[in-house]
Symmetry: none
DNA sequence: AGGAAACTTGAAAAATGAGTAACGAAGCCG
DNA sequence: CGGCTTCGTTACTCATTTTTCAAGTTTCCT
């Protein structure tokens, strides 16, 4: 299977670059590399890739700046790489527009799965006012959500939250982002609300709320909504 | 197939206007253009089109105001255009009476499909002045409503409200939208009127007004009319 | 493995929203 | 002119939703 997608890797460690390069090429992707923040931005601008893998632990320019600069115009997916135990970095990156993250060291299987996921999502047009996600059907015009063609009764807050999840299928949404979008910017530390409402949503949309398949917890970071 | 429908495009970007103009004309529509909010309202008023395409990201008058002003009297469909990542705008626009939305950039196929969809819906209403919804029969010309073939005695306000519900079957209509359409834009906070008249309508059309099957309450948001 | 932090869950309290009845004013009609 | 209908308005009760709290569980980190 050939997929032709072009990926730009921005990382200062030669070893990681080498590893990524080989892994990605053997899986049919075209790969471009950048060693520094400046080089990354230049290469992304001169020849925009379909996806960027960005190490946010870069020595020059801290990686976060690169992300911000890229997001001023670059709309394709960006996956950030981070060392372990840097949740602050991850949350910050997701809040700044990263689509997903990977903690180093990562299994190549996981890397490829994440890449496929964000690339697939980018292809499907989310313009449609009726969104079909597995068993769930969301109609943004009628403001209804169906599970297996049965209308779900959701409160206003529940609907907003689920609609937000659905529009960002597969992407990790941080606590802060969700709180800002649904409750407003003055509720950023009310993580508890989120927990309560996620529990309620799970009761309504999951087949087995104890083992959620749709709303996945990303501990310390946020939640991720999966269609299947 | 020639359809002759007339479409008014309100957008400040010349490129988009050009694109829409060509696409629509080659598909048999008559097209009129407006560059600003004021021009849009004037043109819509002087020569009402069958459909309006409105960019809600207009520089002057913010687009939302145009929608509100138009909806004070314009009853034909309005499709709003919005840039990506402005979900708040879209939700607001739908609440204020937009019939559908498109996220820029859009595929022309999708644009045409949406236009056909809303026009078809609107046409069946006019061609077929009698709307059959479950046990209810609504005759827009005679301004009469029957339940099981028995003529219902409705007051003018009740009729307006029910007709509005019927035209938007299945869709949530917000308090504000209903108030604006039935009472006018200066009654937006008189939610109580709505409650009173909804109660009266339920007494007349529901089999069991305590457990309404037709006019469903969406707490904190508005009401939804269901045929079955 | 063990302690701390983060998460889940159920249920109460508080806040907000909805439904109902009733009444005066305005308009209509005989 | 006087009865009837409809609308706007108010007061009150009831229902739903949101928030808060508390107890139990999982996950994370050393």
């Amino acid at each position: 299977m050939s997929n032709e997608a072009e990926i730009l890797v921005i990382d200062d460690e030669a070893q990681i670059r080498k590893l990524l390069d080989i892994t990605l090429r053997t899986n049919g992707y075209r790969v471009n590399e950048a060693q520094t923040a400046r080089e990354g931005i230049t290469k992304a601008a001169s020849h925009p890739p379909d996806l960027i893998l960005l190490d946010i632990g870069l020595p020059d320019g801290s990686g976060h700046d690169v992300l911000l600069k890229l997001r001023e115009w670059f709309t394709n997916p960006i996956i950030v790489l981070s060392v372990l135990n840097s949740e602050t970095d991850i949350v910050k990156a997701l809040d700044n527009g990263a689509n997903d993250y990977l903690v180093k060291p990562f299994r190549t299987g996981e890397l490829l799965a994440r890449i496929r996921s964000v690339l697939r999502k980018n292809q499907t047009d989310e313009n449609n006012p009726v969104l079909q996600l597995g068993k769930l059907t969301i109609d943004f015009v009628a403001r209804t959500i169906k599970k297996n063609n049965a209308l779900l009764k959701l409160t206003s807050t529940e609907y907003q939250l689920l609609a937000l999840f659905a529009k960002n299928e597969g992407k990790v949404l941080t606590h802060q982002y969700l709180l800002r979008m649904v409750w407003g910017p003055s509720y950023l530390n009310q993580t508890q609300y989120l927990r309560v409402f996620v529990a309620q949503l799970r009761k309504k949309i999951e087949d087995n709320p104890n083992q959620p398949k749709h709303i996945i917890t990303e501990s310390g970071v946020g939640y991720r909504f999966m269609a299947e």
